[in-house]
């Protein structure tokens, strides 16, 4: 197969089982440079597991994962290197509580990239500015709202200059009034051309921001396509049923 330079992230026939439980069942997926792909689907359908397979937090039972054309390594040192290309944003933020917002953002460049302290700090300030939290630079995570924490977490991931961002339900743990500020940051990244794979329950946002939407159920990709097609003319009964069931949140 010829190597496709434009594909940043690729999964081929990715399957994952926990014991008897089949969580992912032959997922084929490719994300191109600059593309924003949204994954939707009922809870328990394997969306988080798929994202975790992409950055090596889970190892697929079978199938292959490629990042920038390279299969994900099983060697811990090489895997660590590859993870620098993948920015991960978790549902529950996972900021480092013993570090300030600024230190959280500096941590990756300092420890992993061995960046000069001054430079790391300048970049961290710039990134906090970008997510609208420059004034919170010296605050510890416990003093920040959920929305602010998630924005710092996004800045922390961006600090590694990843080729692609993986976002696992970045607004699901937030109070409704804090969802907008985080979506706005993600929207900003999309318009800058950042490649993103985003799991979300915000259907209106997915429609607005994504180039392509994937509907997953029971560990399989049921249907995928441009947002208008998938949301307005879903082909599969499973997709139709899911879209009917989700309470549509207000537009941002």
């Amino acid at each position: 197969m010829p190597m496709d330079e434009s594909v940043v992230l690729r999964g081929r026939a990715v399957s994952k089982s926990f014991g008897q439980l089949v969580v992912l069942d032959g997922i084929d997926i490719a994300v191109e440079k600059g593309e924003v792909v949204a994954i939707i689907g009922p809870s328990g359908s394997g969306k988080s597991t798929l994202l975790r397979c992409f950055n090596g937090l889970e190892t697929p039972t079978s199938g292959t994962i490629e990042v920038a054309g390279q299969p994900l390594s099983r060697n811990r040192r090489e895997l660590a290197k590859q993870r620098e290309h993948l920015g991960m944003v978790f549902q529950r933020f996972h900021l480092f509580p013993h570090l300030t917002a600024l230190q959280n953002v500096m941590e990756g460049p300092l420890t992993v990239k061995k960046m000069d302290r001054r430079q790391a700090m300048d970049r961290a300030y710039m990134l906090l500015e970008k997510v609208g939290l420059r004034d919170k630079a010296n605050a510890y995570p416990s003093k920040l709202s959920g929305g602010q924490q998630q924005r710092v977490a996004i800045a922390r991931a961006l600090a590694m200059e990843p080729a692609v961002m993986l976002l696992d339900e970045p607004t699901s743990a937030l109070d409704p009034e804090l969802v907008g500020e985080v979506l706005q940051v993600i929207q900003g990244l999309a318009s800058e051309g950042m490649t993103m794979l985003l799991v979300t329950h915000e259907m209106a946002f997915a429609r607005h921001v994504a180039d392509r939407v994937i509907f997953m159920a029971d560990g399989k990709i049921v249907e995928e396509g441009p947002p208008e097609a998938l949301f307005d003319r879903p082909q599969s009964p499973r997709t139709q049923q899911f879209l009917q069931n989700v309470a549509r949140p207000a537009h941002m």
Binding site: N55, G56, L57, R76, R77, A80, K81, R83, E84, L86, G87, M88, F90, R92, H94, L95, F96, P97, H98, T100, E107, G108, T111, V112, Y140, R156, A157, M160
Partner: protein, 217 residues
């Protein structure tokens, strides 16, 4: 001789014994902390013989009396050609013993950190060791302080057992003074007061240290 006359006569002797107790406890604790960290790292290791050794170690050390361990070191080892002074025997036994407890404290402390922290660190591209050093340990050590202080206090009290291998520490002084004055009540109450003073000082300063660490965020 009333109790105050007794005190004014023997307080100095007891204080010397207390000093030896402090030395023994500090040496034992330092050995215990160093070995305890090593054993806890083995316990968390990906390499199974390390894990296996760590579990065996904590199982044996915590499942047998310190007095037995002390006698094995002091009376048992000479039989295989290793004759140690009472002081060395004492700090080795105390150190090996507290290492078992310290290792369990550290393991529990590290495992109490949300696994999401390790995942977030690894997602940034940190290697396991970097994540431990930069992210996990700095969060764990605050939680470790109270149980480590408990261990410190327990070790100080347990060090009285080394009086049985003719170490002249606080308890031994109590015994000597008791048999020379025929005043066991006064002798052992004085020893108890010295122990109480020392454990109270430890608890007092650890409380201060804990609050200071909290203030720092």
């Amino acid at each position: 001789m009333n109790f105050f006359q007794f005190l004014s006569k023997y307080a100095g002797t007891f204080a010397q014994g207390a000093l030896v107790t402090v030395e023994l406890t500090l040496c034992g604790l330092i050995i215990g902390l160093i070995l305890g960290v090593l054993v806890s790292l083995m316990n968390l290791s990906h390499i199974w013989p390390f894990r296996w050794f760590a579990r065996l170690y904590t199982w044996v050390v915590r499942g047998t009396p310190l007095l037995v361990q002390l006698f094995i070191v002091y009376y048992g080892l000479p039989q295989v050609g290793l004759q140690l002074t009472p002081f060395l025997s004492a700090i080795i036994a105390l150190g090996l013993n507290s290492a078992g407890y310290v290792a369990e404290i550290i393991r529990a402390g590290i495992q109490s950190i949300d696994p999401g922290q390790m995942e977030a660190a690894e997602s940034l591209g940190m290697r396991y060791g970097q994540a431990m050093r930069r992210i996990i340990f700095p969060q764990a050590y605050r939680r470790l302080l109270p149980p480590i202080v408990n261990e410190f206090v327990a070790l100080l009290k347990d060090s009285s057992l080394v009086s049985t291998i003719s170490m002249t520490e606080l308890m031994r002084i109590g015994q000597t003074v008791s048999s020379s004055t025929f005043m066991p009540m006064q002798s052992y109450i004085t020893a108890a007061l010295f122990y109480l003073a020392m454990t109270s000082i430890i608890v007092f300063f650890s409380g201060k240290l804990e609050r200071w660490l909290e203030v720092r965020g």
